[in-house]
């Protein structure tokens, strides 16, 4: 379901990196990292002499004014030694990370350069290497490369490579499957250039974040190896080595071990938090909270028209949907009123971003937090959905409303058999026994013309074709006796012959049980064929409500007319250019003032750009929101400036 408007535009990369700095964690981590790096550069230059100056009378002293953290077994000042050790510790950690990144990238991207066979080989190699714990690999490498800083460096560097390579492979595979890479290949772009220009820039951000976190890990790994005595060897020293030396006298002089320990923690945290802050800043770890039923608020109430005895299936007035947007909330649906009678088929057409899907979700209470829905009236089969316990509403909608979405694969549970999924509805809502519910499921599958229904009920969703899945979804809706079927682009993903099967099925069900249908589609022809009445939506409002038969011939709103004319059909004049609607559909984040269609409308006048036309009902019950309804659109714009006023 893509009912959320497309994000206007991702901020540029530099802006996003800067935004990282503005978060508290990002700021602290960056500051910490900066301090650590500064010490790494400055400390060895300034204090190497002091750190190696022996003070024979003060061997193994505790903290004092002269030596804040005491001295070691040669009488050297521990604070200075810890500070100077920053240089080697950070340098080794960064070098190891560099080795990890380079080795990981080579392993991870070799497939792009050398073809599919090499890619498969690399993936297999990485899969095996990933299975070994990093520290085990490091110890293994340390034995091979010999004990000492160089061995530890290579060990830690290469030990991190498999995980990094795996990440790189996954990311590269994701980008490689995109069409723009195929397009570059067709353009004759060489493999190296393909990698450098197209693939790496698109995978760089997560890799950089991972490397930053990896640097923290490398720092800790070095401390561990040096502490174990297989890392940095005296007379060189890093934090791990100092920690190891200090640990010997932990009971007499704990500060000697604590000081390098604290340094390791601070630096490790700085690297890790910096990486996490980057990840959050560029949107790698997004969490989506989902609450099934959105909040529903009643606007200043309006008395419901309950006089006529025939209760409509759905009666909604002034439905407004508000979604959080970048900066300020956006309102993709702005006051939609609609009424569906029993057995009626109502179509909703409009371009993407017109709010047609959101309207359907709002009136059936399927808008999720943080989305908000307000309405002055929302009645389903006479029941006020704005008042009363949500549990009752859910039960009512659960049994009397059937939803069919564009992609049934997302609405069906892929791990459960189709029959069971259908049966569950009857078990929950009607309390049927397992066997009865299953029998009913098979019966309903037969009703939606699934061949060999009993056998297919035992199959999983992936064993169904697209059209069959859509039938199963409709069958699920028929497990109870729905009064309304809401179908959101039910046939968009299907081929025409299958589309016809599904539409045909919906039509049969509707006629048989006088079930109402709300059909949302971008396809004017489909809606015109299936529906009795059509609502045309533009920029979050209904701009016209007319009988489907008049869609192509007697539409009053210039947008409806343009929309109907823009769709080629089997009678379109082949010699004339297709009718087009100039400009583009407005962004829900910034609907223009006045009539939202005015910027694209050949009839637009000054009035249209200032005042929003109300949705007026005519004598025959048709509704239209246009200051110049019925004015011919073929002629020039001047002839319409007279306007028709607020009739």
């Amino acid at each position: 379901m893509s009912f959320l408007p497309r994000p206007a535009q991702r901020p540029r990369a530099s802006a996003r990196w800067l935004a990282v700095l503005r978060t508290p964690v990002g700021f602290c981590a960056s500051l910490g990292l900066l301090v650590v790096l500064a010490f790494a550069v400055i400390a060895p230059i300034l204090w190497t002499g002091k750190a190696s100056a022996t003070d024979v009378p003060d061997l193994l002293q505790g903290p004092s004014a002269q030596h804040w953290a005491g001295t070691d077994n040669l009488g050297r000042d521990i604070v200075f030694r810890v500070l100077v050790a920053t240089g080697l510790s950070v340098e080794l950690a960064l070098l190891a990370t560099a080795i990890t990144v380079v080795a990981g990238l080579i392993l991870g991207t070799a497939g792009v350069l050398f073809g599919r066979r090499v890619a498969r080989l690399m993936a297999a190699a990485v899969n095996i290497a990933v299975a070994f714990p990093g520290i085990l690999l490091a110890l293994f490498f340390a034995v091979i490369f010999g004990i000492g800083a160089k061995g530890a460096l290579l060990a830690i560097g290469f030990a991190g490579a498999p995980a990094f390579a795996r990440l790189a492979q996954t990311l590269v595979a994701g980008i490689e499957s995109r069409d723009f890479v195929a397009a570059a290949r067709i353009a004759g772009v060489g493999r190296l250039r393909l990698l450098v220009r197209h693939i790496l820039p698109n995978v760089a951000e997560p890799l950089i974040v991972n490397a930053a976190i990896g640097a923290g890990g490398a720092l800790l790994a070095f401390a561990s190896l040096s502490f174990l005595g297989i890392g940095v060897q005296a007379p060189s020293y890093d934090w791990g080595q100092l920690l190891g030396a200090g640990l010997a006298g932990i009971y007499e002089q704990p500060v000697a071990a604590l000081a390098p320990g604290i340094a390791v923690i601070v630096a490790g945290l700085a690297f890790n938090l910096f990486g996490e802050a980057l990840a959050k800043g560029i949107g790698l770890t997004t969490t989506l909270g989902r609450i099934p039923l959105g909040r529903m608020r009643r606007q200043p109430a309006e008395p419901a028209s309950e006089k006529d005895g025939d209760v409509p299936v759905l009666d909604a007035a002034d439905v407004v949907v508000t979604l959080p947007g970048p900066g300020r909330p956006i309102r993709p649906v702005r006051g939609v009123s609609l009424r569906i009678e029993r057995g009626e088929a109502v179509g909703v057409v409009g371009e993407s971003g017109s709010g047609k899907s959101l309207t359907a979700l709002a009136v059936t209470r399927l808008i999720e937090e943080p989305g908000q829905v307000t309405a002055s009236r929302l009645r389903f089969l006479g029941n006020d959905l704005l008042a009363g316990p949500a549990r009752l509403h859910r039960r009512l909608l659960g049994t009397k409303l059937a939803m069919v979405f564009q992609d049934p694969m997302t609405s069906l549970n892929p791990t459960r058999r189709i029959g069971r999924q259908l049966a569950e509805v009857a078990r929950r809502h009607e309390g049927l026994s397992r066997a009865d519910a299953l029998a009913k499921a098979v019966d309903r599958l037969r009703a939606v013309r699934v061949p060999a229904a009993a056998r297919r009920a035992r199959q999983y969703p992936h064993e169904f074709s697209g059209g069959m899945r859509q039938r199963a979804m409709i069958g699920m809706g028929l497990m109870s006796t729905p009064a309304l079927i809401v179908a959101d682009e039910p046939t968009t993903a299907l081929d025409v012959t299958v589309q016809r099967q599904v539409l045909d099925l919906l039509e049969t069900i509707r006629r048989a049980d006088s079930v109402a249908l709300l059909l949302i589609s971008h396809d004017v022809a489909v809606v015109g064929q299936v529906c009795d009445r059509v609502l045309v939506m533009y920029a979050g409002r209904i701009v016209e409500d007319l009988p489907a038969a008049e869609l192509a011939t007697a539409a009053r709103h210039p947008y409806t007319r343009a929309l109907a004319a823009a769709v080629p059909d089997m009678r379109t004049d082949l010699d004339a250019p297709l009718a087009v609607i100039p400009g583009r559909a407005p962004d829900p984040a910034a609907f223009p003032p006045g009539c939202a269609f005015a910027p694209r409308c050949p009839l637009a006048t000054e009035q249209c750009r200032i005042d929003e036309p109300p949705l007026e009902t005519d004598a025959r019950g048709r509704r239209v929101a246009c200051w110049h309804a019925d004015s011919p659109t073929d002629g020039s714009t001047e002839m319409t400036t007279a306007g028709r006023g607020h009739e």
Binding site: V498, R500, P568
Partner: protein, 329 residues
């Protein structure tokens, strides 16, 4: 002149036992300056055929020829270009429009041999697709879907192609945008004389754009002929069913009364992994063995194409129909 020819092309994925023949023995030709519309349902192999022509899918049998020579799928010069369906995926989000289009521009003009200046070429191409040349500095994220699809078209034209393959290029666009792209396409092809293979599942769109129409079903081409001919007198039952399924406002299709006809009308599209034997359409065919008793041949024998519109149906009209034109094969 440039003619793209598929000669008995097969594309097979996977192993011998667990494989999928996406395209089987397809012969089709796109003549010079001709626009061939290729229709069929998803999974029928339309896109695979397109991808095979530009080297993105492996040709396991047969040949794809451009003017009698194999289509080059390596190196800088690529005379066959492909425009993709989804303009949100086909442009590198990190590249400016200018770089994306410029990447495809050959170093030298393939005809005159003159060295091409990228910047003027990009400006010329953007104007060709009716975009503001100032957009060259923009990133795809700043463009609408219709604008992106024009950029994708400009990028394909930048290679100075002899044949352009358009794979469902308007199906990701809103109807109001679709018209502008189709209009542009028609004008451009008329001006440049480029041949095109236009793939779409929308018959109304294909009818508007194409001069001849090929119908594909489960990896095979079942009918191919001049557009008006195929639309007016479809020979293959699948082509007839396709035409009948096109939705039209105000026309409610009748459900057949005969239960056998109803059964085939509700039949599920065949699984491409296990295509039916004989004529692949026979389980859904309204004149096939499930409806008529005398058509058992459909279950066993693959129909040949010696019929009007090269229809691969045992019961199609024989060759030499009223306006048969042997333009291809």
């Amino acid at each position: 002149m440039s003619e793209l020819r598929f000669e008995d092309v097969s594309v097979r994925y996977g192993t011998r036992r667990h494989g999928l023949t996406a395209v089987e023995d397809v012969s089709l030709s796109v003549g010079d300056g001709e626009i061939v519309g290729l229709v069929g349902e998803s999974g029928s192999g339309k896109s695979t055929l397109a991808r095979a022509a530009v080297g993105l899918a492996p040709v396991t049998a047969g040949r794809i020829l451009l003017d009698g020579r194999p289509v080059p799928v390596r190196g800088r010069r690529r005379p066959v270009q492909l425009v993709f369906q989804d303009p949100y995926s086909s442009l590198d989000p990190r590249m400016t429009i200018s770089t994306s289009v410029g990447e495809t521009i050959p170093r030298r003009d393939p005809v005159t041999g003159a060295v091409l200046d990228r910047r003027t070429e990009v400006a010329r191409l953007l104007e060709l697709v009716e975009l503001d040349p100032d957009l060259a500095r923009a990133f795809p994220g700043q463009l609408s879907g219709g604008q992106r699809q024009r950029v994708a078209l400009a990028r394909a034209l930048a290679a100075r192609p002899e044949v352009v393959i358009a794979d469902e290029i308007t199906s990701a666009l809103d109807v109001s945008i679709q018209g502008t792209v189709l209009n542009l396409l028609r004008t451009l092809l008329r001006e440049l004389g480029t041949s095109m293979l236009f793939i779409s599942h929308n018959l109304a769109v294909v009818r508007y754009v194409a001069s001849s129409i090929a119908v594909m079903y489960l990896g095979r081409i079942v009918e191919h002929g001049p557009a008006a001919e195929v639309l007016a007198h479809p020979q293959h039952p699948y082509a007839r069913d396709l035409l009948a399924a096109v939705p039209e406002a105000g026309r409610t299709p009748e459900r057949p009364g005969d239960p056998a006809l109803r059964a085939v009308a509700d039949a599920e599209p065949a699984d491409p992994h296990h295509p039916p034997a004989g004529c692949r359409y026979h389980p859904r065919c309204p004149i096939g063995p499930l409806v008529r008793a005398d058509t058992d041949i459909c279950r066993t024998r693959t129909p040949d194409t010696d019929h009007r519109h090269h229809a691969a149906c045992h019961f199609a009209e024989p060759l030499g129909g009223t306006t048969e034109r042997r333009s291809s094969l």
